[in-house]
């Protein structure tokens, strides 16, 4: 995938995190790669967005959030039939906890903070996914 392909995409993303700092940071990371980004403060807001008909190619999901955490929100979205790429972004140290988060329905799980390398990897995965579906 060329650099031009990476930036010239029509991809949309949802950043779900209760920290305003992390939301702004990850939003900017994704925008730099040409994605159109929305943010949500917690899992419930993310689920509600989908219920209202919104859809996104990529969801960056924090684990620890009030009202509805990342694992619960991921499970809920999968039950609703959401096939977006859902990527956990967490500072969880325990392998057991990360595994439990993956089992909620994540496609990938990264440690905070997200890096440009992580995003390039995700864009390539999204590109592969689009090619398979077409």
């Amino acid at each position: 995938m060329s650099d031009e392909d990476i930036v010239n995409n029509n991809l949309t993303a949802l950043v779900v995190d209760d920290s305003p700092m992390i939301r702004k940071l990850h939003e900017m990371h994704l925008k730099k790669f040409g994605l159109k980004v929305q943010v949500a403060e917690n899992g419930k807001n993310a689920v509600d967005l989908f219920r209202c008909g919104a859809s996104f190619n990529l969801i960056l999901m924090d684990k620890e959030m009030p009202i509805m955490d990342g694992a619960e929100a991921t499970k809920e979205l999968r039950i609703m039939g959401v096939t977006s790429m859902i990527v956990g972004v967490t500072s969880l140290d325990s392998i057991f906890e990360r595994q439990a988060f993956m089992e909620a329905g994540l496609d990938h799980c990264f440690t905070k903070p997200l890096t440009s390398e992580n995003i390039i990897f995700l864009l390539q995965e999204l590109n592969n996914k689009n090619n398979e579906e077409n």
Partner: protein, 146 residues
């Protein structure tokens, strides 16, 4: 002050923040996100970090003063603080958060109280250094456009 000298001072201070272990890689990624369209991005993120930190420090202090101490809640707050510190590359602060969490999981109240003092100290030092550094960066930027 002479423009070149200012820029040289900025570069030296930046290098020492990394060499002395106050900052690491995520801060570089943060700087790389700043551009002409978002010229104050680093400052905006750092300001949000200060706001997050103030809230979490207050919550942790309150939790440490409660009897009995709720170690789960304490760990939760410190986990959040560690997450935001590591996200901007605040290396020493992040390391002290890790030490605190070890005392927390051992339910060692005295250890938590002691290590929290270290967390606050490292945070205060970093904040002072970042404020000076970002002030110098702004001055250098103004001198470039003058």
């Amino acid at each position: 002050m002479d423009r070149n000298r200012l820029q040289h001072q900025v570069a030296c201070m930046r290098r020492s923040l990394f060499d002395q272990g106050y900052l690491d890689e995520p801060f570089i990624q943060l700087e790389e996100l700043q551009d002409d369209a978002n010229p104050n991005f680093v400052q905006e993120i750092v300001t949000l970090f200060y706001t997050d930190s103030a809230r979490l420090i207050q919550n942790i202090e309150h939790a440490l003063n409660s009897r009995p101490i709720d170690f789960d809640k304490l760990d939760d707050y410190m986990h959040q603080f560690k997450g935001s510190s590591s996200s901007i590359g605040a290396k020493k602060v992040t390391n002290e958060c890790t030490v605190f969490r070890e005392y927390c999981s051992a339910e060692n109240a005295e250890g938590c109280i002691r290590s929290f003092q270290q967390v606050k100290q490292e945070y205060a030092i970093l904040r002072r250094k970042l404020e000076v550094y970002l002030q110098m960066v702004r001055q250098a930027a103004v001198s470039r456009t003058a």
